[in-house]
Symmetry: C2
Subunit: 289 residues, 2 copies
């Protein structure tokens, strides 16, 4: 970071990520309160926030919700600064002699008690070297076969929300970033998609920071709007033991994807990242029968 | 295989692997029968054997035991023939113009209901190109912290059995192959070993096929002797809910190792191997709380 304007941009992005986190916390805790007690016994869960500091510079706040509706939810915000290794630098725009960077982001993963409520993943981030760009996206993972079609109601609603967020900023972005999501969240060894998709983007830099920042905010707001709405409807549906079993087995695919293919997970684990944060995306209970 | 003697050696090795499988089946089913019903309700489990054929040549028999003591056990024998890809060939001895190979092996993994009974993994194989060699090993994974020391009784007994098998053939092999095992079955991202070790060897070719074959048979016999003995003793011990929880969490490390680091698993999954066989090593129930 020699350009102080990039540091100022990262500070603005971090402030937004914190705000989005606070609003997601409020929305999810409201769902914990509203979940019908006959289906979800026990007390409504509350987020625990754990600050952490990175020795090399920066840190963040990990958030965990283990409740009666949210079986396990990770919601983390961070801002870290440092110097890319030569290997990392090779894949990063704007890195030459000067390998310094700043990265800030918010990440969310939900694993629900009720197999009829889909899991969701969302991550948005701002990274700056001598240049700055946004990355991230959101994707939905219904657990039951009957929900795992792009024509299923939750999928239609989820895609529409993300399309709305994209279309407000550029006519091409939705199609492009939806295709990237389908390409990325795919398990070649099983020849099956992880979920029903969403959007995924990286190195997003239209040349207009304000526009790109507004786009990333709208992706977060779309998730904040659509996922609690889907969960609020689905959480009212009772489930069977067979559906719970199907969910636990399907979660195994999630584990396989994260450990075999997810670039962020593998990179983080192999380079000494924060294990607790990186592996907080792992489902709480999984079966490979 | 232009050398028919290699094919004949593979046939002899396969016959031994089948015999070892049959003896392990008998030993494990006897444990299923002997497990005390107050700790292990239900009927004793029996192996199901599923033959499979590989389109490119060869095949094998997958064995699965899902019982009251053995929560999930995979025990597979195979013999496959083919032609190494140029990438594979680069890491294989004896491959030049002629990239044909034959490979035969037996593999075993146990995941037990009782968290006080360790899991075990064993694999021995014979691979031949224009040269032939043995590979494999056996390692023990106690699930509870109190058993996860090299000085714990099960560990001492397990290591002694393997040392005995090695020492009968060469004074150096035990130390060398024990060190290779410790190096291989290690999770760098957690800075912890997968289990308490055992032995691990590859490209084992002393120049004397009969000696190497006898060594590999003795590794199998050591496992056949020591593991049922350990399990027979440990299965009598009642366990607590806390120990079961510790076991399910510890199994997550097993999943992490297999998907992040195990060469065989990653290679198999990414090159279109038999998913059912490759992933049969995954624990039946796992937690990342």
């Amino acid at each position: 970071m020699h350009d102080t304007s990039e540091a100022a941009r990262a500070t603005r992005a971090r402030a937004w990520f914190d705000e989005l986190r606070d609003r997601l916390v409020a929305a999810f805790e409201a769902l914990e309160d509203a979940a019908p007690p006959d289906l979800y016994p026990g007390e409504p869960g509350r987020f625990e926030l754990k600050p952490w500091v990175r020795a090399e510079g920066g840190g963040g706040v990990m958030g965990f919700l283990r409740g009666r509706l949210f079986e396990k939810c990770g919601l983390h915000v961070s801002r870290v600064e440092g110097v890319f290794s030569p290997e990392m630098a090779a894949n990063m725009p704007g890195v030459g002699e000067d390998r310094r960077f700043v990265a800030t982001g918010v990440s969310l993963i939900t694993h629900m008690v009720n197999p009829r409520v889909p899991a969701v993943h969302m991550n948005t981030r701002y990274i700056a070297t001598t240049r700055g760009w946004f990355g991230g996206g959101a994707d939905l993972t219904p657990l039951l076969e009957e929900h795992r079609s792009e024509r299923a109601p939750d999928a239609v609603r989820f895609h529409a929300a993300l399309q709305h967020a994209c279309d407000a900023h550029h006519a091409d972005w939705y199609a492009r970033y939806k295709a990237e999501c389908d390409r990325y969240f795919f398990l070649p060894h099983r020849n099956e998609p992880r979920g029903i998709g969403g959007i995924f983007y990286d190195h997003h830099d239209s040349g207009d920071f304000e526009r790109d920042f507004a786009f990333t905010r709208d992706v977060g707001l779309a998730l904040l709007d659509v996922y609690p709405a889907i969960a609020a409807r689905r959480m009212l549906e009772p489930w069977t033991e067979e559906e719970r079993e199907e969910q636990l087995i399907r979660r195994g695919r999630y584990v396989e994807f994260n450990l075999l293919y997810d670039r962020g997970t593998m990179f983080g684990l192999k380079t000494g990242g924060n294990i607790e944060s990186i592996l907080s995306s792992m489902p709480p209970t999984v079966k490979w029968p």
